[in-house]
Symmetry: C2
């Protein structure tokens, strides 16, 4: 019997995620599995909570990783915070805003969607007008729209909500660890992320933080959370307190990986990590533009970690990606939805954000396009 794993080759991951993984994270994944109630493991869990609080810039007690990928973070947030009939406002300018709409609708929320052109940011003025029209139980926005490369003005939207009863939910799957995420400053009530973007850990966990207001909302629900696996009122009893109660078996080795990735980032220093992302982003854009390529998003709203570039006329975009992967072992992403066939998405996330990687990629692209 052939073992397919033996032919897995190192790849430079410059797509929309997963990103290239820190060497030390691979080592962490391979550390001996111990029990999920072992006192040593509880120490590691406590370390992860503290690290996550630092990287999310929050003092929220409920700051933990959820045992699923980033989308499980989205599901957890909505299923705990929303009850049937709740009015919810979702700000949409890409795939992940649309996904929020679907998730919330399935849970019986009455969803209003405020939609903006893909590739453009959410407009706070329109949000303000909508908030004046109707009272919402929850307002949700995506910080870094992975499908377009747009950074939404979360700080400005946050300001609109500071005198509003609505819970404020922010998707930071792609932003966390690449640009500042300010949970407490924004007074965000729920934030979730994923491990496979700027944290440079393989996919599989969803960091999440809930404010005290969000925790209270969950505790005062009229009905039980209609999802046993993601019910935070039970999960916290495993992650908090002096007596840890078994809920589901924690994904031990993935949590080792997350611990290590947060350790790496905090050791380097958040500001240094952000600067490294920015430097690589600017180098990438300069190189692409000098090759005659055009960016999709206006400079002010560009994400450093997700760069959408328009595909030049006459170029077979899939063939270029194929060649990059086959001949150069570099992965980049295609466009989604209305942007399919129109853009490439080039990730500069976490460990991938190194100038030598930018050069390796732009050299390869130039060779293919020449």
């Amino acid at each position: 019997m052939d073992n397919q794993l033996e032919s897995v080759r190192e790849t430079l991951l410059m797509g929309p995620g997963p990103s290239s993984v820190f060497t030390e994270v691979y080592q962490a994944l391979a550390r001996p599995t111990i029990g999920h109630l072992d006192p040593k493991f509880i120490e590691i869990m406590d370390g992860i909570k503290t690290f996550l609080q630092q990287i999310l810039r929050t003092r929220n007690r409920l700051t933990i990783p959820i045992s699923g990928t980033g989308s499980a973070g989205m599901e957890t947030s909505f299923v705990n915070l929303v009850e049937t009939g709740d009015d919810v406002l979702i700000l949409i300018n890409g795939v992940f805003g649309k996904r929020m709409q679907d998730v919330a609708s399935r849970l019986g929320a009455r969803v209003d969607a405020l939609e903006f052109e893909w590739g453009k940011p959410v407009d706070p003025d329109q949000v303000k007008k909508q908030l004046a029209k109707k009272r919402y139980k929850l307002v949700a926005i995506v910080h870094a729209e992975t499908s377009t490369g747009v950074r939404n003005p979360v700080g400005e939207v946050a300001d609109l909500l500071k005198d509003n009863d609505a819970l404020f939910l922010v998707d930071t799957v792609t932003s966390l660890g690449g640009i500042p995420v300010e949970a407490d400053l924004w007074q965000a009530d729920a934030i979730y992320s994923g491990t496979q973007k700027c944290l440079s850990c393989p996919p599989g966990l969803a960091p999440l933080t809930f404010s005290e207001k969000a925790v209270q909302k969950t505790l005062q629900r009229k009905t039980k959370v209609p999802n046993w696996y993601l019910d935070l009122t039970m999960i916290v009893n495993y992650w908090e307190g002096s007596k840890r109660a078994y809920h589901h078996t924690a994904p031990i080795n993935m949590l080792y990986g997350l611990y290590q990735s947060l350790f790496n980032i905090l050791t380097e220093g958040l500001e240094n990590v952000f600067a490294r992302h920015r430097e690589c982003h600017l180098a990438l854009v300069a190189s692409l533009e000098s090759s005659g390529l055009e960016m999709l998003v206006e400079p002010e709203f560009r994400l450093p970690m997700l760069n959408s570039v328009k595909i030049p006329a006459g170029v077979d975009e899939a063939k270029v990606r194929q060649k990059l992967l086959d001949d150069y072992r570099i992965e980049i992403g295609s466009g989604l939805g209305p942007l399919a066939g129109k853009i490439w998405r080039i990730g500069v996330m976490g460990h991938t954000a190194r100038l030598e990687n930018i050069k390796r990629f732009t050299d390869a692209l130039n060779q293919i396009l020449s």
Copy 2:
């Protein structure tokens, strides 16, 4: 900053899970992360599906791992198969039967629970009587009750359901890879498991198989699956067909681990693996009984991989477990619910099922108890 991971020590995992992990699985976890749509990764996914079909003994096309722990497998099964108002029968003789009741109730099912004493098997005669009284949409049972060490007579219950319209759901979290699981022979409609028991992979994934009848039920729902993350009608589009559609980012490295663990098991041969579990179980029981200890479960219904032994009078059970962990680096489990303080649960799962491990544990236990 101290790195807590550096003091993680190898532990002999003889609790109710996780079990000790195959060396090759650790190596697999540390292989380079590649993209979730990389053709190489699709090959690995196809390999996992084929391996799972072999180990579950099924030709079901929908045979995949879910991106969460074993409990996510339970959640996936119920949330896809059950709609509000559906009559469901759950056969309960331990924690995991109770959990099924909770999961199904939260989803709006009308749940009848047929309860049996913890430590005793489900009685097919009582099931037969209940099935004669009422028509159910779904009947669920736990094959290996991890909380008690009881093997439920799934084959006999399966026979009762062969002329019944009800879907038949079986939890094989602890049994899969340790005793025969016969998806097709049982005509089971849904089976889920976990990676951290007899598969000897870290926790984090839930192997799952759905029969064609179960797939049709899911496709013909009146309402969307009220859980975006676990909606199989979408997930299959990533796992099947010529064009793989992105749903959520697959947990790449965990899937490497699962591939490798299934590879190990199938290379050793399922029958050999079962025999190894049985041999170790018999050696363990013989040793425990020769030390004057008594098993909770009658021989006929004992699970080889989960051995419940009564705590001798006057023994501080928590202190014994503590000493095993601190002085011998061996983990065993405590009792749950009505069995808390009354039993220890000794796992002999997967890679842990080696005679040298049985000896190491029984020697340690005898030293502590003497």
